[in-house]
Symmetry: C2
DNA sequence: TATATATGAAACCAAAAGGTGTTATAAAAG
DNA sequence: CTTTTATAACACCTTTTGGTTTCATATATA
């Protein structure tokens, strides 16, 4: 979770807490406090998760007074979508083959 | 990479080597040796990656003589596809807003 | 049978991940 | 001005990751 290392989108979504944070931000922008209050983990831990998400460009932040507000920036998820899409032909074929098999009987 | 821990599909695809292995297996089933020869890493390292992929049910293996042949089992990737799909509405909205903005000018 | 080949398994390691708690600082409120 | 609130910055800890090397075993093949 080191902030120095470069995290890509795949690493960012590997953690369930981070996936939950993304869902939360999809509904509504939120401050660090608001996000941290949602989880049993410490605020520090949440901040680190947010840093990982930001390195992966899945969120961005803005300052509002003393609060830091995070918002969702989902564009990078397209990379994941496209990567997964490549494999669709294989599971589609699987289903297709199964369908043929069933129809032959 | 411990074989004891339970890895889910998100963790499995977080590593670039594992993603590459999946692409390789999509083209053609392969033995441990065949897979390991593709990478600069040691065979042992590749075996561990394969174990992670297997825990996530993204590959399965069969024995053929002294060789262990791995093949792709992509169904679990549907979970990822669906998770990502949820966020499509947000990046679509972004594009929609951008489109409106352009049309107003 | 002797040898080469493919895998299994163990011990070990450095670094990163994921988390904690403490202390400091900036901004808003009383 | 004092107090509260929200965040920042450290230092620290444990477990997991991703990798290594070494040795053993099972299976083909000359």
């Amino acid at each position: 979770m080191a902030a120095t290392a470069r995290h890509d989108v795949y690493q960012a979504i590997a953690d369930p807490t981070r996936r939950q944070i993304l869902k939360q931000l999809a509904e509504k922008d939120a401050s660090i406090k608001e996000i941290a209050d949602t989880y049993s983990q410490s605020r520090t831990a949440i901040v680190k998760h947010l840093q990982v998400l930001q390195e992966a460009q899945l969120v961005r932040d803005r300052k509002e007074g003393r609060a830091k507000i995070y918002s969702l920036q989902p564009a990078q998820l397209m990379e994941v979508k496209e990567w997964v899409s490549f494999f669709e032909q294989y599971w589609d074929n699987k289903l297709g083959n199964l369908k043929n098999l069933v129809e032959e009987e």
